[in-house]
Subunit: 335 residues, 2 copies
């Protein structure tokens, strides 16, 4: 670590987060499970393959259009398991609550947790509550950790080849811009809504295409740009994204223009990127579109050998520019 | 909840924590896994019985004699799995870090995590890091969640009978008083040390007595008194603890006397309470004493039918007084 203090940007999900993990965490904790730096880990237990994942949620504000910290805490961990090719089964739920937090808000969050875990078909089996003095935490932080059963339908090799298509199940930037608008008091953007939702039912529908899917990722912190960069890193292949094909809601685009941000770097909480064999891409899109969470599924780009280990954007004018992963901190506490 | 705000005492591990769980969490999240309100949950996955547990660690100070928040985060979750009769296998590790936290302290904590997980024989397989702005969290909070394989050696019925012995593996109150002394700047108590340690290797040694052990619990927040009360609650049986038999270090007793506290209510982080058939109690103690973490193992009391659902202390003078579970908050952020 070049800094002697932990900066906000170390939690961005971008390049500095990667650096913290690679230079500080991995050398201490090195083991074959942690090494792939995936959304979760595949472990062997009692002769079976399970997937484990964990996330803490520190989003601010805790209530926002489209959900709250409870919806997010369930969706986020369920999605991390689902993109690993697992069927999410059981979650743990741990609260760190600031003294004086309103009991009615806790109840509201618990209702969202209950509703979202019901939708996802997961059970919350164990929990913990810590309360810290006023001023020593910001309202409420939630950790969920999950265990899922590795589905035998997905044979994700994680090896990509030129021509593979990059598919997304809908519009990008909805979650991050909603949080940002709330925080800035830009309530005129009344149609902005977080996309946070559990994607496991949608992803299960792709089981029949399991051997054509190279990998899946959920583009949360750091956005689509960061995840695509992680996919090409040391792969020997590149990815080209077509600017014209990127699904972005007009209100998201508008807010991004006002604030000088790029939707490609903005967190999503109900989106999955699927890298699949070109021949099956259209079928995958048709299946995704049968689900309410995949209505706007489309291809946003493809794997290329033209610029190995790099992601490029083909602009509306036909030129290409390199898209790096997120550097610095765009927006703290987005999830 | 009778209060409209979450109070510190809701995180005490005592009566108000129980009330929060029973009146607020259970009605929202009710399911058969959560219902037993144990240290972890036994779940079925892929045809196998696993145990899951989660805990967030918010201890203050983060470094203390005998360990640090990292030692605690591994030991605590490993112990929760072990007392459920599981062999702990995999842990997740999630940090919430305050902006500006010293990188060297993070590295020190990671070393403790590495060392303690090595001792316990568990792998950290997945993780998460969030950074919040300065003043929005206190230094560092850690969540660990764990998965273990249910051992077939322990046939814990959780049914206790008159005459069963209550065994502990050593002295009580060491962790809580160490934290308290640090916090009050009472460094004269230089021999005070937290007992925090992973107990799974010790507990595995009890496997041969698996069918004589009714249940095991680790007396953390709320101390031995609270856990014994949880054991007798709605059981139709009582427990009597002998004051003379309670193993308490002189320095712990001394600090408790100064501060007006009772070691029975003070958190331990390397202790296990074993309720076992009387006939095997002495053998269990012999086995515990073969381990460095069980040198001072002893019987502290027994199950009785004399005062159903109550815990009583038999004093050095032969009288009995009722020992309730912890009410209010004795010491916030002990773990």
């Amino acid at each position: 670590m070049k800094d002697d203090k932990i900066l906000l940007s170390y939690g961005s999900g971008g390049r500095l987060s990667q650096q913290l993990i690679k230079e500080t965490f991995l050398p201490s904790l090195r083991n074959p499970f942690l090494e792939p730096l995936d959304d979760g880990a595949i472990v062997n237990i009692a002769g079976r393959k399970l997937v484990m994942s964990t996330d803490s949620y520190v989003v601010d504000p805790i209530f926002f259009p489209g959900g709250d910290i409870g919806t997010l805490a369930i969706s986020g961990t369920v999605n991390d398991l689902a993109v690993m090719g697992a069927i999410p089964r059981y979650l743990s739920l741990a609260f760190i609550i600031e003294e004086g937090f309103p009991a009615k808000d806790l109840k509201k969050i618990l209702q969202s947790i209950q509703k979202t875990s019901f939708e996802a078909g997961v059970s919350i089996v164990t929990g913990d509550t810590k309360v810290v003095q006023k001023g020593f935490a910001d309202k409420i932080f939630i950790n969920t950790s999950g265990v899922g059963e590795l589905s035998d339908k997905f044979k994700m090799t994680r090896k990509i080849s030129a021509g593979d298509k990059i598919i997304i199940n809908g519009t990008i930037g909805d979650h991050g811009t909603t949080i940002m608008a709330q925080r800035e008091g830009l309530t005129l953007h009344s149609t902005l809504r977080s996309d946070c939702a559990p994607l496991n039912r949608l992803i299960e529908k792709l089981g029949d295409f399991g051997d054509s899917i190279r990998l899946m990722r959920d583009p949360t912190r750091g956005g689509v740009a960061t995840v695509l960069n992680e996919i090409v890193e040391n792969s020997g292949h590149g990815i080209v994204v077509s600017e014209a094909s990127l699904p972005v809601r007009p209100e998201v685009r508008g807010l991004c223009e006002i604030l000088g941000l790029d939707p490609l770097y903005i967190a999503n909480e109900g989106k999955v990127l699927v890298v699949a064999e070109a021949a099956r891409a259209e079928e995958i899109i048709s299946i995704l579109r049968t689900d309410p969470l995949g209505q706007e599924a489309c291809i946003i780009g493809e794997v290329t050998d033209e610029h190995p280990d790099k992601v490029a954007m083909e602009t509306d004018f036909g030129s290409r520019r390199i898209i790096d992963m997120l550097t610095g901190e765009q927006l703290p506490r987005i999830c």
